[in-house]
Amino acid sequence: SQKIEQNSEALNIQEGKTATLTCNYTNYSPAYLQWYRQDPGRGPVFLLLISENEKEKRKERLKVTFDTTLKQSLFHITASQPADSATYLCVPTSGGYNKLIFGAGTRLAVHP
């Protein structure tokens, strides 16, 4: 069955450093991959989408890579801030497939 693995333990980093979150998936070949942010008591919020034809995508301080050979995506936040503290969800998606499968997420804590 399709499986998504994200760091189950929280990632603690110091303010100003780069946070790197990992997402590995097995048993399917997504055409693209989405990253969402979820704050406590709130619904997920879409951040970035990268397609299988793109190796890397950037948006402000965010950078996502997508390696279809390794079946892995890396999500980077540069110059991290305490406001970046949240849970980040990885969502590999097959082309035309409407039913998203969410990873359990990695909790990021950025300390001043």
Partner: protein, 112 residues
């Protein structure tokens, strides 16, 4: 304001009772989804709808019923609530296949 709203935000009920969770979106998005989120699990899809009067089962549909008579509304009903259905429920909408999903802020449901 445009967006997706869920009601109620919090609900406590007893086993065996019928409960309906409401979801309303103002974008006229074709797709709507219901998820549940439990500790240690990612979001799990309960039901989804590709358009008014078109619904389909997701990963965990047992014990739930949905309807979609209007594009903007997608209520979820627990016909006879069980303790295992205690969870946080999220509704989402999506303009089209392969696009990001937009989530409500969830309903926290406790079944005693």
């Amino acid at each position: 304001d445009a967006g997706i709203t869920q009601s109620p935000r919090y609900k406590i009920t007893e086993t065996g009772r019928q409960v309906t969770l409401m979801c309303h979106q103002t974008w006229s998005h074709s797709y709507m989804f219901w998820y549940r989120q439990d500790l240690g699990h990612g979001l799990r899809l309960i039901y989804y709808s590709a358009a008014a009067d078109i619904t389909d089962k997701g990963e965990v549909p047992d014990g739930y019923v949905v309807s979609r008579s209007k594009t903007e509304n997608f209520p979820l009903t627990l016909e006879s609530a069980t303790r295992s259905q205690t969870s946080v429920y999220f509704c989402a909408s999506m303009v089209g296949a392969g696009q990001p999903q937009h989530f409500g802020d969830g309903t926290r449901l406790s079944i005693l």
